[in-house]
Symmetry: C2
């Protein structure tokens, strides 16, 4: 009897953790999402083991689960195989790959979520089959995963793609030192912060808390201060995309993360801005597209990472 190959996949997020079981063909045969048990390093690891065991038990009788890919929201040091993740308590250079391997009966392959996003989209998303792809994630923060000639660009310390730190404005502001210029100007959090600073409520006071989607909605309703924020953020997003295109000359830039889940209006603004700044020949040859896997990009990527390594 011949067996089909299956892999387990885990995408650990700051708030949610997803686990799936995939056939090597890309067919997703089981998936489950839970709030991340991020109270401690041990609770997070225990949750991963339990979710993985449940996923493995869903394998068809003719399938062999040959490995598990796991992506995490932080810095994966490939030399020490450790994880540093600011959103999960105690994941401070934790040897997660080894810890999981001791508790699960299959090989474990650990990468950053940025690796997962771009590998997922290049496998079964909008960048399917492409070899030179940048995934730009714009949500709470900003980061990128880069495929070049089919290989993920890790950088020497596994920090390539920390593009929230792109310098885009020579007039230095204090906040740049903390989160980087691009992230301070154009992340979803920063759009909300700009909204809180600049949008007045009908009563003339400042709204207590504003999210990026509130700014986008206010702009749609004709609020000029909100529209000015969208204009400003669009320029920075266009500049950031342009810099990735001029430096890396990819076939496609995939835009993902919370800020781009509202639809295609922001996409059109970014496409328009980016074309003013990027190297012209590289700009004409690249496509700028929204993620089609959306919040599942990391899970698909984790499966692809397992398949690439088994």
């Amino acid at each position: 009897m011949t067996h089909r190959i299956a892999v387990a996949a885990v995408d650990v997020g700051g708030t949610k953790t997803a686990c799936g079981l995939f056939l090597a063909t890309g067919e997703l045969i089981h998936s489950r999402t839970e709030p991340t048990a991020g109270e401690s390093a041990e609770s997070a690891a225990g949750q991963i083991v339990a979710m993985a065991e449940a996923a493995i038990s869903e394998a068809p009788v003719d399938a062999v689960v040959a490995g598990m890919g796991i992506v995490v929201p932080g810095w994966v040091n490939r030399a020490s195989r450790t994880v540093w993740a600011p959103n999960i308590k105690g994941w401070d250079h934790v040897p997660l790959e080894r810890q999981l391997a001791e508790r699960l009966p299959i090989p474990i392959f650990l990468e950053s979520d940025r690796t997962g996003y771009v590998k997922g989209e290049a496998w079964l998303g909008v960048a399917r089959g492409l070899t030179d792809v940048v995934f730009l994630a714009v949500g709470t923060g900003i980061g990128a995963g880069v495929l070049s000639e089919g290989r993920f660009l890790h950088g020497h310390d596994d920090l390539a793609g920390c593009v929230g730190w792109l310098a885009l404005n020579p007039r230095y502001e204090e906040i740049y030192a903390r989160i980087g210029c691009f992230e301070a100007e154009a992340s979803g959090n920063s759009m909300g912060r700009k909204g809180a600073e600049r949008l007045r409520t009908a009563q003339g006071g400042q709204p207590a808390s504003i999210a990026a989607r509130d700014v986008i909605e206010a702009a749609s309703n004709g609020n000029p201060a909100a529209a000015a924020i969208i204009d400003e953020v669009s320029v920075y997003l266009g500049m950031g995309v342009a810099n990735l295109v001029s430096t890396l000359n990819p076939q496609m830039v995939v835009l993902g993360g919370g800020l781009f889940q509202g639809g295609t209006r922001l996409l059109e603004r970014v496409r328009h801005e980016f074309a003013r700044w990027a190297q012209p020949i590289a700009a004409r040859s690249v496509r700028i597209e929204l993620s089609t896997l959306g919040e599942h990009a990391g899970l698909y990527g984790a499966a692809r990472i397992a398949l690439d390594n088994i």
Copy 2:
């Protein structure tokens, strides 16, 4: 009798062309530089053939010249093996590799000068033995060559490293459309242009023509307008280096090209500025150094390209 391996190397520049003969150990046993015969595609190709034949004839009797690397100041399309180079008349998608192969008795390997610079420095220059290196050339224009895990980053259309187009200032200026923002703000030519626009002579008139070195000298002599130009250019250079570090996480950024041949003062300014902008962990782990091969980086790189391919 065993033979030593030798390779020929040619670095075609916009004004000068250099040719050398190297042993595989890196020993340079012959070199010659001439003004580039750039009047036509044919004159440039003929010059390369003549210089290569002369170099090959210098090989020791126990050496076999196993191939020739050639680097050119333009866009090398690896699919069509053609060259587009704005500074050499008629090099408008010319099949140079094939033309040379028909006239020379050894295999020919063609790459861009940016490829040569970074491969030369990583072979026998300041980045000797490193695998993750960016060479940033700042002269007439601005461009970069990137080694990542020992492989040159070509990009999908062989345009990776066109970093003269980095977007660094959200206040768009017309000149950015023609040469790119970074190049418009920080190349040697642009420093000269800023000098011509802003420096008054002692007589109160504007000097007719100013080179970057005149601005640097005026700043050293206490001219405040010149010092302000150096300040401004240093900020942009620091931002550009920072963006390469945050995106690519290299071990070293090598600074080369005419603007950095004046010594270490500009280097110190760039190091200082860069550290304010780059991803902090990547910034602490990278070294920012001047090219040690200087104007020979391309020639050494051409030899390395030949050795990598034979």
